[in-house]
Amino acid sequence: MTDYVELDVRPILTGGGEPFGRIMETVASLKPGEGLRLLAPFRPVPLFGALGSKGFTHQDREIGGGDWEVLFTPTAGPAASPAEAVGDRWPTPLMHLDNRGLMPPEPMVKVLGAVEAMQAGEVMEALLDREPTFLFPQLTQRGHEWRGGFDPDGTVYRLLVRIGTGS
């Protein structure tokens, strides 16, 4: 039986905040085997894909008043390596980049340059002005994993990249 950590983002949204960063933080802090019970004022479709890529399946149901409850349950995928099976916790970032205020595509160039200098399993943190849409396919192509989201104040996008073994 999976234990679920509950996160209610309705107050954040009512207060005009951006819950994505908070959701990602909560997901990152989950213990192995733990799931997330999310309460939201709408059906959070974009999260299904975002958490799906991190190995969560979802079950959603409307709980009245237009609100939704979604259970994100971790799957023990056959592809999970022993290191990943120990937990979905990522090591503390070794590399920090502040790419705010740079002209696109400079932030992407800097992230990809830094990524090349790192070892498999290491994590980099980068601060960006916006979601790096064009960077994600490049990271995936090189076999790296990423997580990201806006901080609660909605002005800083915090990207974490974990270096993959092969690319």
Binding site: V45, G49, V109, D129, T133, F134, Q138
Partner: protein, 441 residues
């Protein structure tokens, strides 16, 4: 890239026809020649450009991959073939060709092609709700496109003789202004505004607009389109005056344009990047054109009559604002997509050229200036009703466009990149028309 290539070929063809004196102002506003020129510009150039750009940028607007990406190429084929048949149909109205079968067939193919494009973009938007404001503009633009295409389909069936239902015949006779308002104002203008609300802060490194101004701009422009299309269709069905409905819509749209202009000025003022790239400097000229086009109709109508006033203003919106903005943005998009495609896989692993190394701004700048100067001259020629001056100005526009196209092809083929750095190990060679980037047809 195939969308952009087809669009640019259509633009060059449109301008060549204008130089040749085909269509307005040599012919009347509703002459077959004018219909050919207008649809070549509106469908061939602006709509293909917009559709191609939306396939690239709607995923950026909503952070969601394009749904139905497999539809983009068939949509292009249907639209191009449908447009060719539509234009042939107009020519047959002018007695150049003998048969009338082209119009209804062309209308049908265009309908199918645009339906595919709307499906791909619409599905992407539907899956990404709630929509951020720029994407809401695009959604409204799609509704405008559906209205314009549906009315156009009715016109082709009536003119081609496949239907003679009295209600449809009446719509075909009176509905042209509604069709034009839905296409130009609903589809093209709404999408251009929506995309620029997202791209400009990105390119200028300026903060997103504060306050509710942009939301009010959205509500006003949505209102204008709803009045023009919904009210226009209602007026057609109830046989009210279509022009008074459109006048109301026009006034509301002018309010929306004013708020939008304020946001654009704030983007430029609030930018953290002091040195502007050529595409943003040129875009400023396009916005100036929009400003003139909003202000001009009233004095021009008073001075030279409604027909010339409206013709000059519509020309300025289509060629000054939308086309000028389109060419300026292509000068940003084509190098960027090409750079990402060719050098993306080796970024950080080998020295690569920068995006700005793909273009030569000093060589391209004069041609953009010639473009806007000649568009403004052509607008004046339309206002004063001088066909000869219009053709001379149109030649300037044609020459400038051709030169800009050459610069775009050079960027795509990496011709301006120093030879030694052009293909570091592992870089991909670009193909002129086909792009491997997602949605990059």
């Amino acid at each position: 890239m195939a969308y952009f290539a087809a669009a640019l070929v259509s633009l060059l063809a449109t301008e060549a026809l204008m130089v040749a004196g085909y269509g307005y102002p040599v012919d009347g506003l509703r002459a077959p020649g004018t219909l050919v020129v207008v649809h070549l510009a509106a469908i061939g150039w602006l709509s293909l450009l917009m559709a191609g750009a939306l396939f690239q940028f709607v995923p950026v607007l909503v952070n969601h991959p394009l749904a139905g990406a497999g539809l983009t190429l068939p949509a292009l084929l249907f639209i191009v073939v449908g447009l060719a048949m539509l234009l042939s149909g107009f020519m047959s109205m002018g007695g150049v060709l003998e048969t009338t079968a082209f119009l209804p067939m062309g209308g049908l193919l265009l309908c199918l092609g645009f339906a595919m494009a709307v499906t791909a973009i619409g599905l992407t938007l539907v899956r990404s709700r709630p929509l951020p404001l720029p994407a809401a503009f695009v959604a409204a633009g799609l509704a405008g496109l559906v209205a314009a295409v549906t009315l156009g389909f009715v016109f082709t069936q009536v003119l081609g003789g496949t239907t003679s239902a009295p209600a449809l015949v009446y719509i075909a006779a009176q509905g042209v202004p509604v069709h034009a308002a839905a296409g130009l104002g609903g589809w093209l203008a709404m999408c251009a505004v929506g995309v620029s609300y997202r791209l400009f802060p990105m390119f200028l490194l300026s903060p997103d607009p504060q306050g509710n101004g942009n939301r009010v701009a959205f509500m006003l422009s949505l209102g204008a389109v709803t009045v023009a299309v919904g009210g226009g269709v209602a007026a057609l069905l109830a046989a009210w005056s279509v022009s008074s409905v459109l006048l109301v819509a026009g006034l509301v749209a002018a309010g929306a344009a004013a708020l939008y202009s304020r946001d654009v000025v704030n983007f430029y003022r609030g930018r953290r990047r002091r040195e502007l790239e050529l595409n943003m400097r040129i875009a400023a000229l396009a916005f100036a054109s929009l400003g003139f086009a909003v202000v001009l109709p009233i004095p021009l109508t008073a001075l030279v009559g409604a027909e010339r006033g409206i013709a000059a203003s519509v020309y300025l919106v289509a060629f000054g604002w939308l086309s000028g903005l389109g060419l300026a943005k292509l000068y940003k998009i084509v190098p960027f997509m090409t750079w990402l495609e060719c050098y993306g896989p080796i970024l950080g692993r080998a020295p690569t050229p920068r995006v700005q190394d793909l273009v030569s701004e000093t060589a391209a700048r004069p041609w953009f200036i010639v473009y806007f100067a000649s568009v403004w001259a052509a607008t004046a020629a339309l206002a004063f009703g001088s066909a000869a001056a219009f053709r001379i100005a149109a030649f300037g526009t044609l020459a400038a466009t051709a030169a800009i196209v050459v610069h775009l092809v050079r960027a795509r083929m990496l011709s301006d990149v120093a030879e030694g750095q052009r293909f570091p190990g592992g870089a991909l060679r670009p193909s002129l028309l086909y792009s491997i980037a997602p949605g990059g047809h």
